[in-house]
Symmetry: C2
Subunit: 480 residues, 2 copies
């Protein structure tokens, strides 16, 4: 499947390069149904790592995993008007059960606020029942009409969605920000993808939210990718779903709510940010296989001893907690295996050839820089651990440097358009807060406001569009 | 939510008892949409334990988790005629995307053979690509028209479905039996539910399979519950989906396939088999919380020291790998907490009261027998570990004894009907292999053949229905 390698260069045809890396590394495949994809074992294993990391985080802070139905009655979706308007154009509708038409058509969940909150209304009576903090890992469906892009735009994708209910606005705000911080930690310290964080504009916020916070990363082609969002829903949903509680003050109140999610599109970001012309490059902390051991037995008396030594090293690495794999298949050459594991992005390759055996050493090759070095056999475990750590840091630092280079401040619309065309990335520009200016810029250039930073940055000019007084320095970009 | 306890007795109104235990323990709830349910944190945590245990098993044997689309085009379902006929009456159909009618209606997966095998056809070329062994954890939809029974019959439920492709019939048979054994180990040694295993009849096999193997358990009301199935699909699907490979003999062959699954209905079995009038009783190996520590502080000088000691014990238990929880909530009384944790089925309760503190001891209460005993504080960890082990064994042994008592051999149809009515359980009866006799018995009594044991048991009479020569001793039962 992977014997041909990646036929496109990342720097030359980014889009084709991306698709080939995804397909040839065995991350994913197109499904035999329009707009859908298959998560093959490699991407699913990465997703399981993300689940493990994020579950640990949220369970520590008192969140619990649950599972709510896939189906949402149309009448539920309709209750919150903005929410309905935002999602209804891309809903897949179930209208038949067996050969019987349904009385009310059912949406396949595009997101689960409505079905979950209809249930919260039943569970919540008193302040003692609060907070409720649940999360579910599931698939969601949005009937996209644009062309499929694996991981980034498919009709079904996998995600987690957290949903909480609190007694006060303050608590709900705290929850939104805590989750945003957990996301940031996940993106930066595990996926090695630096992000900028901030608040969405009214135009760009989640349909039905009071406000939306976001994490945005930059891709090598200069386009932004939203890595996750954390919403304060205020009392918008509690008022329409009638989620009330008797407070300690013995009065009735509506709850304050949050919802937040990340999806399998972050795997697309992983590919784009770290990959190279040889294929995937996976950050060690998220790599299902961190090290592959490849014996290089020549047809001589040492062959068996080399394979035996490789097994020994494999066991040692596993004992040290390294996710190591031994590739002792005889039907493939070492060179073929090198390419294959490079394509799959495994961070460290451990080679054992006749000379290594003779010298009591192993050869380590790192995936990010292709550097090779020999270390004494007894130091192999520590050397691999150290390399994994270095690779993790190196990938982040490289991406961080790139992100920083891709932030440009502009003072007028001409400059804005030029930077957008020539360089891309995030463009910091002064804005008057008017949705009309925001809309016009989007129409004319394709760029949207990705976020307003939490720590207010001073405008550097008048509004780049209307010339009126600027209130914010906003981060614009074209995006996926 | 749980302050009222279970109002029905297991021995008096089994069905109402079951529903109350499920609802009041917080395992699950009805969803605000007909026929569907909400998996609340307790049942979802049990499901996560099952996932963890089963994932470890199948990953060791080279299976890999993946995720295939939720949608199956009608034309795929139709390819294997028996399969289509078996599933189409209960398919939920998506017919609209946004406001556009779809060209071809899409089934929400009732099971994924067809969508997965359409993809296998693309992946498999040579014997080197075999075996393929994948598994997915997902939800499936079957548009039931009967009344909902939580965990046992809902329109959507959670399951895992494994799908494999092999070069030879022998390998596929081996896979079917290995998985059946893994299921048996899961059911008996983790869920503490003894099962009988065997083969389904032609009438009862999976729609599209060559043969189906099954695990069946007995419930307290004498009805059987199918705990899982492992199918050999033969070449039925590979022929219609054209899944061929070039063998080592350089000739083209169709692959041999298996599929197998267990679902969240096993959680229903857990409730029914082990539960009592106080609520759930969870086997320690599957319990999300294995031990709860409850301080019993009186309003005196010792109160703080008792809570501090409870914390200390809690940490010690956690360090020993016990899933322990400290319930130091001040707004509830110890008595209320006892009831609540009993309702939730936690295997061991650790109490620390003033006398325990004074004597340097703790009081242990086991959920299965309600026995209480004091142990020295320094022996608490080992004592809890030992108790968990004993409870696990006791639950299994009790259930095993019950199962054995519920197997009856009969020699004629009168006896068959009488045992079915008076005692229920598995009835071993002689059968001539005719589907007509099987069908008639089902029509007249409601009992089906649950399985034919793998090790042939000698018929003890002529066929109980037609009086013709009997070929098998079959296990009949009414079932969920």
């Amino acid at each position: 499947m992977s014997d041909l390698g990646v036929a496109f260069k990342k720097s030359e045809d980014f889009s084709e390069w991306y698709t080939q890396v995804v397909l040839k590394s065995g991350l994913a495949d197109y499904a035999p149904i329009k707009g859908c994809m298959v998560f093959r074992e490699l991407s699913y294993a990465i997703w399981e790592k993300i689940q493990e990391i994020f579950n640990e985080k949220i369970k520590k802070t008192g969140h619990r995993n649950v599972y709510f139905p896939l189906f949402i009655p149309e009448s539920f979706l309709k209750k919150e008007a903005e929410h309905f308007a935002g999602f209804v154009p891309e809903v897949a509708w179930v209208t038949m059960g067996g050969d019987t038409p349904l009385e009310e058509k059912l949406a396949i969940r595009p997101t689960s606020e409505t079905i979950i909150y209809a249930t919260f209304a039943k569970w919540i009576r008193s302040w003692r029942d609060l907070p409720i903090k649940v999360n579910q890992w599931c698939s969601v469906v949005r009937w996209e009409t644009k062309a499929t892009k694996l991981f980034l735009r498919t009709r079904e994708f996998l995600w987690q969605e957290g949903h909480t209910a609190h007694a006060t606005e303050e608590e709900s705000h705290k929850e939104v920000m805590e989750i945003l911080n957990e996301y940031r930690d996940l993106m930066e310290n595990y996926l090695a993808i630096p992000v900028i964080v901030g608040r969405k504009t009214e135009n760009e916020k989640f349909a039905g939210a009071l406000y939306t916070t976001t994490l945005e990363a930059i891709m090598p082609d200069g386009k932004a990718l939203q890595m996750g969002t954390s919403h304060n829903l205020g009392q918008n949903f509690s008022k329409v779903f009638d989620i009330k509680f008797i407070g300690e003050d013995e009065k009735e109140h509506y709850v304050w709510q949050t919802s937040w999610g990340i999806s399998t599109r972050v795997i697309g970001a992983l590919v784009m940010v770290h990959g190279d012309d040889k294929g995937l490059v996976l950050p060690p902390k998220i790599a299902p296989v961190q090290a592959v051991i490849i014996p290089i037995p020549y047809k001589d008396a040492d062959a068996d001893r080399i394979v035996a030594k490789a097994k020994e090293i494999h066991e040692k690495l596993q004992k040290a907690g390294i996710a190591a794999t031994l590739d002792d298949r005889m039907e493939y050459t070492p060179g073929w295996k090198f390419n294959d594991w490079e394509l799959k992005g495994v961070p460290v390759r451990v080679e054992i050839g006749p000379r290594d055996l003779k010298n009591g050493q192993v050869t380590l090759a790192r995936r990010d820089t292709f550097e090779k070095k020999q270390v004494k056999e007894e130091e192999a475990t520590n050397a691999v651990l150290k390399l994994l750590d270095e690779i993790q840091k190196n990938l982040f630092n490289k991406a961080k440097k790139f992100l920083e280079e891709k932030i440009t401040v502009v003072k007028n619309y001409e400059e804005f358009k030029e930077v957008l065309k020539e360089k891309g990335g995030f463009i910091k520009a002064s804005w008057c807060l008017s949705p009309q200016c925001e809309e016009k810029i989007k129409e004319e250039t394709g760029a949207t406001i990705r976020l307003i930073p939490f720590e207010k940055e001073k405008p550097v000019s008048n509004c780049i569009y209307c010339g009126g007084e600027a209130k914010e320095l906003a981060y614009f970009a074209k995006s996926y």
